[in-house]
Amino acid sequence: MIRTRLVAQRLAFLFLLGCFFFNYPLLSIFNQGGSLFGMPSLYAWLMGSWLALIGLLALVIEGMRD
C-alpha cells in the first residue's frame, strides 16, 4: 500500500526526480539539436526518461508487496 510512509516517500522522491528530468536545466542540455538513437535528442530524452520514471514507479509499487 501507499499507506506505508516509506513507499509514499519513495514515490515523492520520484516526483522530485521527474521534476528534475522534465525541466530546465536538464531540458536545455538536450535542446541543442542532434539526435539520439535515430530520434531528435530532446524527444528521445523526454520519452526515454518518462518511460524510465514509469518503470521506477512500477518498481516501487510492485516491490512493496513483499
Binding site: 531540458l27 531528435p40 524527444y43 523526454l46 520519452m47 520514471l53 514509469i54
Partner: protein
C-alpha cells in the same frame, strides 16, 4: 464505403455497444459482482483524461511547436508519483464523508458551506464549458471531413453554417441524450456509476488502439520507421524547427507552467475527480494505477510527434488543419477502414469526456446550486414534499442538457479562434483555481470558509478577465480594442498584459496573476480569524484523517420519525428504509423503530443524504429537523487538537475500567463463595455437635444409671455396658470420620498414589465384610468384576470407598433375601465400578442429598431419632476421594427397585507395573481455595 449513413450507423452501433457494456456492468454491480473492482479498470477509466484534445489536438499542437504537447501528460505522471500524499488522502476523506464531487469536497472541507459549494460549481461549469465545446468541435469536424471522403475538405467556419445544418448541434444533442440515458437512470446514495466506469474503461482501450493503429500505419506504412520520419523531417528546414524548442527562459517557464497546470487539472477537473475519487471502488486500486495510468499516457503519446511530422511533410503548408492529421493521413492514402476506426476512436475520446464531465457537473449543479436555492424558496413548499428523488433526477437531466447547450454556444461563439489545445488550456486554468483551497485544505488547518471564498472568487475573476473574455474578443464578440488597449482603454488593464506584465504566453500570464491573487486571498483572509467550530471539525477530518463522525458532528438529536421521512424524500422510500435497516442491524437492533434518536443516528442520516444531495444541502436539511445545541469553540478545539492523545488516553482508560470490572466480578464471586463456605461451616459444626451429643448423652445416661444403682442385676448391667461400648465405638468412628473429612477438605490428607488393581481392592473389601454379610444372610455377588483393571490411586483410600459402598448397601438390603452385586468394567479411558443392591431404593430428589454431610436418604430414618444406621459421612468422604483421583461417584435408583452406586476412575494406561504419580497435598481439587 464511407457514405454518411455508414458513419452514422457505425457511430450509433458503437454507442449502443457502450450502452450494453454499461448496462451489463450495472447489472453485475447490483448482484454484488462488480466488473470494475480491479486496478486495471481503474487505471483505464482514468484514461478519460485523454479527450479529443489528446486524440486530435496533440498532433495539431506538435505540428505547431514540436514537443510542446507533452507537458500535459508529464504533469499527471508527476501527480501520481505524489499519490500517497494527495490522491490517497482525498479518496480516504471522500469515502469517509460520502463526498460526491469536487464542489462537495471544497464545501465540506470548509464547514459544509453551501455558498462555497455553489461558487465552486459556478467556476467548474463556466470553466469547463470551453472544454466541452472542444469535444463538439472535434467530433463535428471529424464527421464533416470523413463524410466528404474521398475529398479532403476543411469544414467551413462554424459561424458561417446555418444553425440547423451544423453537425455540431446534432452531436451536442445526441451526446446530451446519451449522457442522460447513461448517468441519470436512477439515484444512487453514493453517486457511483459502475456501468459508466466500465464503458469509460472500454472507451479508453478503443481510443488507445485507434491511435496506435494510426501511428503504426504512418510510421511503418508510409515511412520506413521512426528514424526515417525524423530523418526526412530534418531535411526540410520548415519542419525541422519543430525538433527543438526555443531556448529562452520564457519558453522553459511556460513549459514548466504547463506541467504544473496539467498536474492540478488531472486532479481537479470535475471528471477526473469523479473517476479518481468518487468512483474509486477500493483505495488499494490506486497503488497499481500509480504506474499504469502514466503508462497509458505514454503509449497514447508515443506516435504524436511522428504523425505530426508526417502530416507536415505530406500536406502542403496551410491546406489541412494539423488538428485533423490523425484522420486525414489515412484518408489521403485511401485507408477507409482505418479512417472510420480513427473516427470511432475520436468519438470514444469525446463521448467519454462529455459523459463523465457532464454527469459530474450535473451532480454539482443539482446538489450544490439548484437544490439549496430551491429549498430556500419556502413558497415552493419543497421541504414538505414527500418524494424529491424524481425532482433530483429531473434537475440533473436538465443540467446535462443545458451544459451541453452552453458548450455548443461557446463553440459557435469562440470555437474558431483557437486550436483544440488552446481551448482546453482555458479550462485547465479555470480548474487550477481550485488547487489552493483543495491542496491547502488537505494540509493546512487554518483555512476558513471566508478565505476559500475570497481566494476562489478573485482567482475566478482574474481567470475570466485574462483568459475567457479575450477568447470572446478574438472571435469578435467583444470589441477587439479590449485586448489591445485594455478595459475602458486603460493600458494597465490590458487583459493579457495586466499591469504591463509582458513576455509570458497567455496561459502562464493568467496563471501567474490568478493563482497569486487566489493563494494570497485564501491565506490572507483565512488568517483574519481562527476557524470556527465547524471548520475546525472538518479540518481535522480532512487533515488528521480521523473519524470523529459519531462524536462531534451533531450535539443535538432527532428521532427516526423525523429522519427517515427526510431521507425517503431524497432517496425514495425503499432505498431509505433499506439503509436505515442496515444501520439498525449494524447497531445490533432488530428494527428501525428501535434506533435511539442520538447523535450517531443523525450523523448517519446526514451522511446518507450527503450521497444524494451533497454535504452542504444534507447539513441544511438535517438541521431542519434536528434541535441542535451549539458546540462551543473551545470545547471543539480542545478535543480536536488533542484528538489523538485523547483517543489514546481514553482507550487506556477504557482498558483499565474493563480490567477493574473484571476484577470486581471476580471479587464478588470469591466473596459469595466465602459466605457460602462460612454458612456451610456453621451448619457443619452445629450438625457435628448434634451428632456427637447423641451417643454422649446415651453413654452418660447408662453410666449414671449404673453408678446410682449398684444393685442392678448382672444381666441388666451387661446390657447397659454393651450399649455404652457400642455408643463409644460409634462416637470414635464419628470422630475419626470427621477428622478424615476435615483432612480431605483442607487438603492436608496424605496420599500414596500408585497403580492399583481395582479387582483386588474389591475382593479385599468384600473379604473384610464377609462376616457382616453372613450375619445378615445377604448374598454378595462379585461375578461382574473383570480382572487386570488398573487405576492410579491410593490403595487404602480406594479400599475405604469400596467398604463404604458395600456396608452402605448391606445396611439397606433386607435380611435373608438381600443381594448385593459388584461389577467392574474397563473402557480405554476409564474404569467403572458399580455396587447394586435390592434395597428400598432412593427417591430421585435425594440422589444428590445423600452425598451431603450427615444427610441420609429419606428411606432411612432420621439420624436424630430412632436408631441411626450410619454417621452420614461415608458417602461424602467417598465422593471426595473419588473426585480427588479425577473420577465421579453417583447413584442411579428409583424407589422400590434398589440402588446402584457407580464410580469411575481414569484408567491407568500401563496396566502392569506401578507408576508413581506426583500428587501432593497442595493440588487437591476439592480443597479450600
Amino acid at each position: 464505403m464511407l457514405q454518411v449513413w455508414v458513419i452514422v450507423l457505425a457511430s450509433f452501433l458503437y454507442l449502443g455497444v457502450l450502452f450494453g457494456i454499461a448496462w451489463y456492468a450495472d447489472h453485475r454491480a447490483d448482484h454484488g459482482r462488480s466488473l470494475i473492482a480491479n486496478p486495471v479498470v481503474y487505471a483505464l477509466s482514468l484514461g478519460v483524461y485523454c479527450t479529443t484534445w489528446t486524440f486530435y489536438g496533440s498532433v495539431g499542437r506538435a505540428a505547431a511547436n514540436g514537443i510542446g504537447f507533452l507537458p500535459i501528460y508529464l504533469g499527471p505522471t508527476l501527480l501520481f508519483a505524489l499519490a500517497g500524499f494527495i490522491l490517497y488522502r482525498m479518496i480516504r476523506v471522500a469515502k469517509a464523508n460520502r463526498i460526491t464531487s469536487i464542489a462537495d469536497f471544497v464545501a465540506s472541507r470548509y464547514g459544509k458551506s453551501q455558498l462555497l459549494g455553489g461558487l465552486v460549481t459556478v467556476i467548474a461549469v463556466v470553466g469547463v464549458i470551453p472544454y466541452i465545446a472542444l469535444q463538439l468541435k472535434a467530433v463535428s469536424n471529424s464527421f464533416t471531413i470523413l463524410s466528404s471522403y474521398p475529398e479532403i475538405v476543411m469544414p467551413a467556419s462554424a459561424g458561417a453554417v446555418p444553425l440547423f445544418q451544423d453537425s455540431a448541434l446534432y452531436v451536442a444533442m445526441i451526446l446530451a441524450a446519451f449522457t442522460i440515458l447513461f448517468g441519470t437512470r436512477h439515484l444512487d446514495a453514493t453517486e457511483r456509476h459502475e456501468g459508466m466506469v466500465a464503458a469509460i474503461a472500454v472507451e479508453s482501450i478503443v481510443k488507445l488502439v485507434a491511435f496506435l493503429a494510426v501511428g503504426t500505419f504512418v510510421v511503418w506504412g508510409l515511412h520506413g520507421g521512426v528514424a526515417d520520419v525524423f530523418a526526412r523531417a530534418a531535411e526540410v528546414p520548415e519542419v525541422a524547427r519543430r525538433l527543438t524548442r526555443a531556448d529562452t527562459s520564457a519558453a522553459y517557464g511556460s513549459w514548466g507552467t504547463l506541467i504544473f497546470l496539467s498536474l492540478f487539472a488531472s486532479l481537479l477537473l470535475p471528471r477526473q475527480f469523479q473517476i479518481a475519487v468518487v468512483e474509486n471502488v477500493d483505495v488499494k486500486h490506486l497503488d497499481r494505477a500509480v504506474w499504469l495510468f502514466p503508462l497509458y499516457l505514454f503509449l497514447i503519446n508515443l506516435f504524436v510527434l511522428p504523425v505530426a511530422l508526417a502530416g507536415l511533410l505530406h500536406f502542403p503548408a496551410g491546406t489541412v488543419d494539423a488538428d485533423t492529421f490523425v484522420l486525414t493521413l489515412p484518408m489521403a492514402h485511401q485507408q477507409e477502414g482505418l479512417a472510420l476506426f480513427v473516427f470511432i476512436g475520436g468519438l470514444s475520446a469525446a463521448t467519454g469526456m462529455v459523459i463523465v464531465e457532464t454527469i459530474a457537473l450535473s451532480t454539482m449543479v443539482c446538489n450544490d446550486l439548484v437544490m439549496p436555492l430551491l429549498l430556500r424558496m419556502r413558497w415552493l413548499g419543497l421541504a414538505e414534499k414527500a418524494d424529491l428523488s424524481g425532482l433530483l433526477l429531473e434537475i440533473r437531466r436538465w443540467a446535462i442538457a443545458i451544459i451541453l447547450g452552453l458548450g455548443y454556444l461557446y463553440f459557435r461563439v469562440a470555437g474558431e479562434a483557437y486550436a483544440l489545445v488552446s481551448i482546453g488550456l482555458i479550462s485547465f486554468a479555470a480548474v487550477a483555481q481550485f488547487a489552493p483551497v483543495v491542496i491547502g485544505g488537505l494540509f493546512w488547518k487554518g483555512g476558513t470558509r471566508d478565505g476559500a471564498l475570497a481566494g476562489l472568487a478573485i482567482g475566478f475573476v482574474l481567470w475570466a478577465y485574462t483568459l475567457l473574455l479575450p477568447s470572446f474578443a478574438k472571435s469578435g464578440w467583444l470589441p477587439e480594442g479590449f485586448i489591445a488597449h485594455g478595459l475602458f482603454g486603460i493600458e494597465l488593464l490590458r487583459p493579457q498584459h495586466l499591469l504591463g506584465l509582458a513576455g509570458l504566453d497567455e496561459i502562464t500570464h493568467c496563471l501567474v496573476w490568478s493563482l497569486l491573487a487566489n493563494v494570497g486571498a485564501y491565506i490572507g483572509v483565512s488568517l483574519l480569524r481562527v476557524p470556527n467550530a465547524r471548520e475546525a471539525r472538518q479540518a481535522s477530518l480532512f487533515i488528521g484523517g480521523t473519524d470523529l463522525s459519531g462524536h462531534l458532528a451533531w450535539s443535538g438529536s432527532a428521532g427516526v420519525a423525523d429522519l427517515l421521512p427526510l431521507a425517503s424524500r431524497f432517496l425514495g422510500r425503499e432505498r431509505a428504509e433499506d439503509a436505515f435497516m442496515r444501520h439498525a442491524r449494524s447497531r445490533g437492533l432488530h428494527s428501525v423503530e428501535e434506533l435511539p434518536g442520538d447523535a450517531r443516528l443523525v450523523n448517519f442520516a446526514e451522511n446518507l443524504l450527503a450521497g444524494a444531495i451533497g454535504s452542504a444541502s444534507a447539513r441544511a436539511m438535517v438541521s431542519s429537523v434536528v434541535s441542535e445545541e451549539p458546540l462551543g469553540l473551545d470545547e471543539v478545539m480542545n478535543i480536536l487538537d488533542e484528538a489523538s492523545q485523547v483517543r489514546a488516553y481514553s482507550r487506556e482508560l477504557e482498558q483499565k475500567s474493563l480490567e477493574l470490572t473484571r476484577a470486581t466480578a471476580e471479587l464478588r464471586q470469591a466473596n459469595e463463595r466465602l459466605r457460602e463456605l462460612d454458612r456451610m461451616k456453621d451448619d457443619f459444626i452445629s450438625t457435628v455437635t448434634h451428632e456427637l451429643r447423641t451417643p454422649l448423652t446415651s453413654i452418660r445416661a447408662f453410666s449414671e444409671m449404673l453408678q446410682e444403682d449398684p444393685k442392678t442385676d448382672l444381666e441388666q448391667r451387661s446390657k447397659f455396658l454393651g450399649i455404652i461400648v457400642s455408643e463409644t465405638v460409634r462416637l470414635s468412628r464419628l470422630i475419626n470420620q470427621i477428622l478424615d473429612l476435615a483432612k480431605l477438605e483442607s487438603g492436608r490428607a496424605e496420599w500414596t498414589v500408585a497403580a492399583v488393581d481395582v479387582g483386588e481392592v474389591i475382593r479385599e473389601a468384600a473379604d473384610s465384610l464377609t462376616v457382616l454379610f453372613a450375619e445378615k444372610s445377604v448374598t454378595l455377588d462379585l461375578g461382574g468384576c473383570a480382572t487386570g483393571l488398573s487405576v492410579m490411586a491410593d490403595r487404602d483410600r480406594l479400599m475405604q470407598v469400596m467398604v463404604n459402598l458395600l456396608s452402605n448397601a448391606l445396611k439397606f438390603v433386607p435380611a435373608e433375601s438381600g443381594l448385593v452385586k459388584v461389577a467392574a468394567r474397563g473402557t480405554i479411558s476409564e474404569v467403572r465400578v458399580s455396587v447394586t443392591d435390592n434395597g428400598p431404593g432412593i427417591h430421585v430428589a435425594d440422589h444428590e442429598v445423600i452425598f451431603d454431610k450427615f444427610r441420609q436418604g429419606s428411606g432411612n430414618t432420621d439420624v436424630l431419632t430412632d436408631k441411626p444406621q450410619g454417621t452420614g459421612l461415608g458417602l461424602p468422604i467417598s465422593r471426595q476421594i473419588v473426585e480427588y483421583f479425577n473420577g465421579r461417584l453417583w447413584v442411579e435408583s428409583t424407589p422400590g427397585n434398589g440402588a446402584c452406586f457407580i464410580f469411575t476412575l481414569p484408567r491407568h494406561s500401563g496396566d502392569n507395573g506401578p507408576a508413581p504419580l506426583q500428587a501432593g497435598n497442595d493440588n487437591q481439587p476439592g480443597g479450600a481455595q
